[in-house]
């Protein structure tokens, strides 16, 4: 960051569009960031949760399919526009939700990241507690206090490392990613060696529902919903890649495929050691002995700090979208503000996210599936992946994305319709489904309904009212976005060079 001038620093550390020359994350670095973000210990929890419904073979298939479907929704919604303009996910939601309405996306980002970071840091605490208890340094009775203390230390470590800015994250991410993959492979080998592949392959699901179709679709749905929680992360990271092509396959492979492949280890572990629920901290020492268990637990601690940093980075970026915070809140204060709610949850209810993981995932689907749906409809069908940067960042009353009082009713109607569809199909609290959930799942129809409602209202209300910038020249030539009206007229009248 030391080579950047003040404006670049504000853009990279803040929410301003990143210039192409500042987008320094190539395919390898981006793949490293994506993999290191995706393969933290939540893969074990997610895989372990699928084991409640499905055995190894069907679980593995639904997990890969769900991850790939989920990442497609995010890619269609965000990838082109965030890499094209160097903006993050929340800024990219402004045309659909409105200049003030996009704070709703900010709130979703904030809540989602708080949930995931709490999960990670409790995991970190569990790993540290297991090390101390396995080696006899602490007794079993100290487990819960140790989880909280080490979770808090993880918060401090993530904040301290992020003081170096996002460049620090980029530099260490690939190494962490490689280490996590090695850990996962070693875990798999240890499991197969100790328990036997036949035992894992033949193990029944832990607590399946009566309907086999429900179990199968739920395995798929859990991974789609889990993947949708990457909505805030994707914009925050791919904006630092130089182009859409560079970002495409690292995103598909680093998030979509990596998460599904490595979550399988959580699935297999939960089937092999049913009481673990896929939590490796409970069986690493038991399965691998101290020589494998302790280094692996230590590595989980390191990996979880790295993943927490990515979450803090994207939510700090989102926080700095708020005009009053943009220039008044320092980078360090923004990251601290992002971590503060995690500290509160760690102190008051450290196991809440763990104990309600299925509900947490379903709520992710309830809110992010419709959001992807309206963005896909808007960017792919109406705007052809263009937006007016001036209206996003400098928009004022009367500008393209101000709509009515800063809110786009089409966006919020789409979100409500999509969320209603999801809740109708799958109750996120009771996990009870209604037809046609068994055939369509919940996230995909939710995104579809949200997109259709958004499209209809946009076509028949927003466009006729002249709002949203759909009739502006910017829709056909993004270069015009930066030009004032007088200059725009000159540019349009100039002959096109051969």
């Amino acid at each position: 960051m030391s080579t950047l001038d003040e404006g670049a620093r504000a853009a990279v550390e803040g929410s301003w569009p990143v210039l192409p020359r500042e987008r320094t994350w190539g395919s390898v670095a981006l793949l490293g960031v994506c993999v290191s973000a995706s393969v933290a210990t939540w893969i074990f929890i997610t895989g372990g949760f699928v084991a409640f419904y499905l055995p190894a073979g069907q679980g593995a298939i639904t997990m890969i399919a769900g991850s790939l479907f989920g990442i497609l929704l995010i890619i269609l919604a965000l990838l082109r526009v965030t890499t094209r303009y160097g903006i993050d996910s929340v800024a990219a939601s402004t045309p659909q939700l409105g200049t003030r309405g996009s704070y709703f996306a900010l709130a979703l980002t904030y809540c989602s990241v708080i949930g995931w970071n709490t999960l990670l840091l409790v995991f970190l605490g569990r790993a540290a507690a297991e090390i101390l208890i396995s080696t006899g340094v602490a007794g079993e009775g100290a487990r819960q206090p140790l989880i909280v203390v080490f979770g808090l230390l993880g918060v401090v470590a993530a904040w301290m490392i992020l003081r170096g800015g996002p460049a620090r994250m980029r530099n260490i991410a690939p190494a962490i990613a490689a280490g996590v993959v090695v850990l996962a492979v070693v875990l798999l080998i240890a499991l197969i060696t100790n328990v036997g592949w036949d035992t894992i392959a033949d193990a029944p699901a832990l607590a399946p529902a009566e309907s086999q179709l429900f179990n199968y679709v739920t395995g798929f749905e859990l991974l789609v919903a889990s993947m949708l929680s990457w909505w805030p992360y994707v914009g925050g990271t791919v904006r630092l890649a130089p182009g859409t092509k560079t970002a495409l396959w690292p995103t598909v492979l680093g998030l979509g495929l990596a998460i599904s492949l490595l979550s399988m280890i959580g699935l297999f572990a939960a089937l092999a050691v049913p009481e673990s629920g896929g939590d490796p901290t409970t069986y690493l020492v038991e399965v691998g002995g101290l020589w494998l268990g302790l280094p692996a637990l230590a590595f989980i601690i390191l990996a979880n700090v790295a993943t927490t940093m990515v979450g803090v980075y994207v939510s700090a970026l989102a926080l700095k979208q708020i005009p009053t915070l943009q220039t008044r809140l320092s980078w360090n204060a923004a990251t601290a503000l992002t971590l503060a709610p995690v500290v509160i949850v760690l102190l008051l209810a450290p196991n809440w996210v763990f104990d309600n993981f299925g509900t947490f995932l379903a709520f992710i689907g309830v809110v992010f599936a419709p959001l992807c749906g309206i963005q896909i409809m808007d960017y792919v069908v109406f705007r052809k992946h263009t937006l007016d940067l001036r209206a996003v960042f400098l928009g004022r009353r009367g500008d393209a994305y101000h709509y009515w009082a800063g809110f786009n009713p089409a966006g919020f109607a789409g979100l409500l319709a999509g969320a209603g569809t999801y809740i109708y199909l799958l109750d996120p609290i009771l996990f009870v489904s209604r037809t046609p959930y068994e055939y369509l799942s919940a996230s995909l129809p939710s995104a579809l309904v949200a997109g259709i409602v958004y499209g209809l209202i946009t076509k028949f209300v927003i466009m006729p009212a002249g709002l949203g910038g759909y009739s502006s020249p910017v829709m056909t030539d993004p270069r015009q976005a930066s030009l004032p009206p007088s200059r725009l007229k000159e540019e349009v009248s100039e002959p096109t060079p051969p």
Partner: protein, 58 residues
């Protein structure tokens, strides 16, 4: 994210930045038809085949 109340210096900096980003649009590697086709094969066709195969054979 509009309705900003920047000071004029920062607003000018942001205007300049927005202009530079828009001018460099041609460098941002849009996906072509082949990219989209490959993406759809990998993220839609392949998962559908896998799901059907998993349901019928496992």
């Amino acid at each position: 994210m509009g309705d900003l109340r920047y000071d004029p210096r920062l607003e000018a900096e942001l205007e300049k930045r927005i202009g530079l980003v828009a001018e460099a649009d041609h460098l941002t590697e849009p996906l072509d038809r082949r990219d989209y086709l490959t993406l759809l094969i990998v993220t839609v066709a392949l998962p559908v085949v896998m799901l059907l195969a998993g349901w019928w054979w496992l």
